[in-house]
């Protein structure tokens, strides 16, 4: 799948992303890894879960975990409101809900516009940011969900 996305990017030269807000910062993920976008619903907390794992929700019969992206990205925790959304993503064949503050847009960008993230962070952290996309006056941080999840696994392990 990852390959498919890369192929897609490579072949078309265009990348479709979904941008969302966390605080004042705007992030985005590849649209192809998104399964569905849902409104906020309270989640069932899991015992002894790390701070960024909010709990689990019921998505049409299958139980999926919900992760607070702000905490996961080292930002101050967001307070869920009615306007918050859960982006259900398919990461390595697993469905994971990402709690974001606000889904702002669905944008198509040229691959050429993707800028590499500055080389100032440790490798583990740097791996989370695949690229920086400047759109108009905004800088959108393009997150690598696989990396995010693999780190997760590590953390979980």
């Amino acid at each position: 799948m990852q390959e498919t996305a890369n192929n897609n990017v490579a072949t078309s030269g265009y990348l479709e992303i979904i941008s969302f807000h966390l605080g004042k910062q705007v992030f985005c993920v590849n649209i192809m890894s998104v399964r569905e976008i849902r409104g906020w619903a309270p989640s069932t907390t899991l015992p002894h879960s790390p701070p960024h794992v909010l709990g689990v929700i019921n998505l049409r019969g299958s139980v999926i975990p919900v992760i607070d992206m702000a905490i996961r990205l080292g930002l101050p925790a967001i307070k869920p409101t009615e306007r918050s959304a859960i982006i259900v993503t398919n990461i390595a064949g697993k469905l994971v809900g990402l709690l974001v503050e606000n889904v702002s847009d669905m944008i198509t960008v040229k691959n050429a516009d993707l800028q590499p993230a500055p080389d100032v962070l440790p490798a583990a952290e740097r791996a989370l940011t695949k690229a920086i996309i400047p759109v108009d006056e905004q800088m959108i941080c393009y997150l690598d969900l696989d990396a995010l999840f693999s780190t997760e696994d590590e953390l979980a392990a």
């Binding site: 979904i18 399964r35 569905e36």
Partner: protein, 832 residues
């Protein structure tokens, strides 16, 4: 006539008169009482007989009616009718032969013959059989009821059966012989007139079949269901009526009761006569003609039984018979008791008369004897014989008195002779004394004449006004006092007139003064009246002004009330505005909720569009178009979300505006309440102004009445002043005339006449003027006190209507100013 005759005669006359009068009265009363008793008795008897008779006749009718309803009668009649037909053509002679001529019983007992059938006869007659069957029953019935005969008659008038079998038996009632008899009349009355429901009656007449004896008949129809089939007739039992009428109880030896028919013939046999009177004796009486109907008439009857009798009659009406019952009694029998009574009274009267005569003769003797003796003595005394002896001086009656009086006369005659002798001696002495007295009297008369002449002369001069006259010559001793008194009187008169003259001058001066004062008073009173008029006018104006201001105050009060009402209304409006604001707020809240919903929908739409976009992206090239649509939807959702946000902002803003509006309105309400309070305060103020104005008005009314009173008083004063002036003028002229009168006299004395004349002239008034002037201040205050008010003194007026008025004003206006006003008014008053 001598008293010895008069007295017995008078006694006899008195006795005769009293006894005669009382016996006449008692005889009359007795006679009328007896008459009344007889009349009552006759009335009672006649009424009783009438009632008995009517009862008897009614019973007779009832019996006959009952018999006619008895079936036996109809059956018997039918039987006889049936048999009648078998008797051949000569029915009547055949039956008369069988039951009358061949009847073994004599007339009157023929009813006992039950049948003419001979036991050995070959032929059997059905009539005889029927007769045998019914005769005993019918005979028994007639006997028991007292009927004299009983007939059964068929519709053709044939007498089918008769109990007693006289000549009327088996005859025909339509035949000429029978038609006019009572029997024929009854039959005709029933059959001819078809009377089926009552009895028919034929009055007493001589009836040939029974030998011309009187008979009355009564009949009734025999009715079957088919109608009338025959008639039954009875001969009325005269014997029973005679029994009723022959009762003479209570009617004495001559009285009886009789029954008369309408022609006046007796139809009951009189018990007082041996022969039969029925239809033979006639009583022709006016009483009977008036005694028709049930009323009882009383009268007298002459001729009947050759006697003069009292009679009472009353009518008995019965089925066409017009009878009269009469009760009568011989008048001589009725009056027998009266004759007895009269004889007894006459006998007693005669005895009484003889007794009275004897007593009166004895009594008159006892009186006349001593009177005759006394008369003889008195005659002797009149002839001068005083030596008479008087007997009976000790009697207690009037004769004794007379004797004693004669004794007094006798003694007086003896005294008189002695007195005459003494009187002759006295008379000669008296004559001598009288002559001496006449001589002295003549001398005295002469002296008195002189005195009178001189006194007359003096009086004459006095009458001419000369008061200088004096009588110098002395009078006789007894009259000299008269002269001295005359002189003193003239002297006194002289002095008095001098004083009068002096006083007249004084009065003249006073009246002049008085006139001046009165004129002054009059002028001032007029001034006062004018001032009062002005005051009154000014007061009227003030009153009008005060009334006007009072009205204005009232109007203001009403305006204020309106203003208060307006503010109250405004307060309500403010409350309503606040409520409206609240409602706007509520509505805004609702709108906000709706907007939230819209926002939510926009959000969800956005999410859906995103999902659609995701799906489109995942669909790759195939989802391109869809992605565009999703994008459009997303934009729409975002636009609605933005719009919702804008609306929300607007609504929040309007909510704030509404809040500030509410605050403002509330402040307006507070301001209005303040205004209402102020208005109330103004209202109170105006009310107090109105009250004050009303009080002023009242005060002014009182002032007005006070001024009116003052005006009246002033008018009265003016009138009084006028009168005073007139009186003063009259007084002046009176003084002048008085002075003229005094001047007629000539006055004596040294200085007196001179002083009088000088005082009467000019100096008099001049000299007297100061005196009234000095008296003036003393008199003035009274005038002031009387209300004229023209005071020149400093003393305050004690009491005046004006002061009352001012007090009233002060009370009316009240407050601090009143004192000043009162003071000012007081000053005004005193100036005035």
């Amino acid at each position: 006539m001598l008293i010895s005759r008069k007295l017995p005669l008078a006694a006899a006359l008195l006795t005769i008169m009293s006894i005669g009068a009382s016996s006449i009265v008692s005889l009359q009363i007795g006679s009328s009482a007896v008459n009344e008793k007889i009349v009552e008795k006759l009335e009672a008897v006649v009424d009783g007989r009438r009632n008995q008779l009517e009862t008897f006749l009614a019973n007779l009718q009832q019996d006959l009616t009952a018999t006619s309803q008895n079936n036996l009668m109809r059956i018997a009649l039918e039987g006889f009718k049936y048999d009648w037909g078998f008797l051949g053509a000569d029915v009547s002679p055949e039956l008369k032969r069988r039951y009358i001529t061949e009847n073994p019983f004599p007339a009157g007992e023929r009813q006992k013959y039950d049948t003419a059938q001979k036991p050995d006869a070959a032929k059997i007659s059905s009539y005889d059989q029927t007769h045998e069957r019914y005769n005993p029953q019918l005979r028994e019935m007639a006997n028991s009821r007292g009927w004299e005969d009983f007939y059964l008659v068929d519709m053709n008038g044939n007498v089918m059966y008769s109990v007693n079998k006289y000549d009327d038996y088996a005859s025909n009632l339509r035949s000429d012989a029978m038609k006019s008899t009572g029997l024929g009349q009854v039959y005709q009355g029933i059959v001819g007139d078809e009377v089926t429901d009552r009895t028919v009656f034929a009055d007493y007449e001589a009836y040939a079949p029974i030998g011309g004896q009187p008979a009355a008949f009564m009949g009734h129809a025999l009715n079957s269901q088919m109608g009338m089939v025959g008639v039954i007739i009875i001969r009325v039992p005269s014997g029973k009526i005679a029994d009723i009428m022959s009762n003479t109880a209570g009617l004495g030896e001559t009285g009886e009761t009789v029954l008369l028919n309408s022609d006046g013939y007796l139809i009951s046999d009189s018990v007082r006569t041996p022969e039969s009177d029925m239809l033979a004796v006639r009583v022709d009486s006016d009483v009977q003609r008036t005694a028709q109907g049930s009323s009882i008439v009383v009268g007298s009857l002459e001729g009947y039984r050759n006697m003069d009798s009292s009679v009472a009659m009353t009518g008995v009406k019965f089925d066409g018979a017009d009878w009269t019952v009469a009760a009568l009694i011989d008048k001589s029998e009725a009056g027998a008791s009266m004759v007895m009574m009269r004889n007894a009274i006459l006998g007693v009267a005669l005895l009484l008369l003889l007794g009275a005569l004897a007593i009166s003769i004895w009594f008159s003797r006892s009186l006349t004897k001593p009177i005759e003796a006394l008369v003889d003595n008195m005659r002797r005394l009149a002839e001068g014989d005083t030596s008479i002896e008087l007997a009976g001086e000790n009697r207690k009656d009037e004769i004794g008195e007379m004797v004693r009086s004669v004794a007094v006369f006798r003694n007086a005659a003896i005294e008189k002779v002695e007195l005459e002798r003494e009187a002759d001696d006295n008379r000669s002495q008296m004559e001598k004394r009288r002559q001496d007295r006449e001589a002295a009297k003549a001398e005295e008369t002469q002296l008195m004449q002189q005195a009178v002449d001189s006194l007359a002369d003096g009086l004459h001069k006095l009458s001419e006004g000369d008061l200088t006259i004096r009588l110098e010559t002395p009078f006789i001793e007894s009259l000299d006092r008269l002269r001295l008194d005359f002189n003193a009187s003239v002297e006194k008169l002289n002095e008095t007139l001098s004083d009068v003259t002096e006083n007249i001058h004084g009065i003249n001066g006073d009246t002049g003064e008085l006139r001046a004062a009165a004129d002054d008073l009059s002028r001032r009173t007029e001034q006062q009246a004018a001032s009062l008029e002005q005051t009154s006018a000014a007061l009227d104006e003030i009153t009008a002004t005060v009334k006007n201001s009072s009205q204005r105050a009232d109007e203001a009060t009403s305006k204020v009330a309106e203003a208060k009402q307006s503010t109250d209304t405004s307060s309500k409006v403010v409350g309503q505005a606040i409520n409206a604001m609240g409602r706007i707020e509520e509505a805004s809240g609702e709108i906000s909720k709706i907007i939230n919903v819209i926002d939510e929908i926009a959000f969800q739409t956005n999410l859906l569009a995103l999902n659609a976009g995701v799906e489109a992206a995942r669909a790759g090239e195939a989802g391109k178009g869809f992605a565009v649509v999703a994008q459009e939807v997303r934009e729409l959702a975002q636009r609605s979300a933005t719009a919702a946000k804008d609306i929300k902002g607007l609504i929040n803003k309007s909510g704030e505006e509404v809040k500030s509006g509410v605050t403002l309105v509330r402040e307006t309400g507070d301001a209005l309440s303040m205004i209402a309070e102020h208005v109330s305060a103004i209202n109170d103020q105006i009310n107090s102004i109105a009250t004050a104005a009303r009080e002023q008005s009242n005060g002014l009314t009182e002032i007005n009445s006070a001024v009116n009173q003052m005006d009246q008083v002033t008018q009265q004063n003016a009138a009084m002043v006028e009168e005073t002036t007139a009186v003063t003028h009259r007084l002046t002229s009176g003084a002048a005339s008085l002075e003229g009168l005094v001047r007629q006299f000539t006055l004596t004395g040294g200085s007196r006449p001179v002083s009088v004349s000088t005082r009467a002239a000019m100096p008099g008034p001049a000299k007297h003027t100061p005196a009234p002037a000095a008296a003036k201040p003393a008199a003035r205050p009274k005038v002031v006190a009387a209300g004229v008010g023209a005071s020149t003194t400093n003393s305050r007026p004690v009491q005046s209507p004006a002061r009352n008025m001012l007090n009233t004003v002060a009370r009316a206006f009240g407050g601090d100013k009143s004192n000043n006003q009162t003071a000012a008014s007081q000053d005004d008053w005193e100036e005035f």
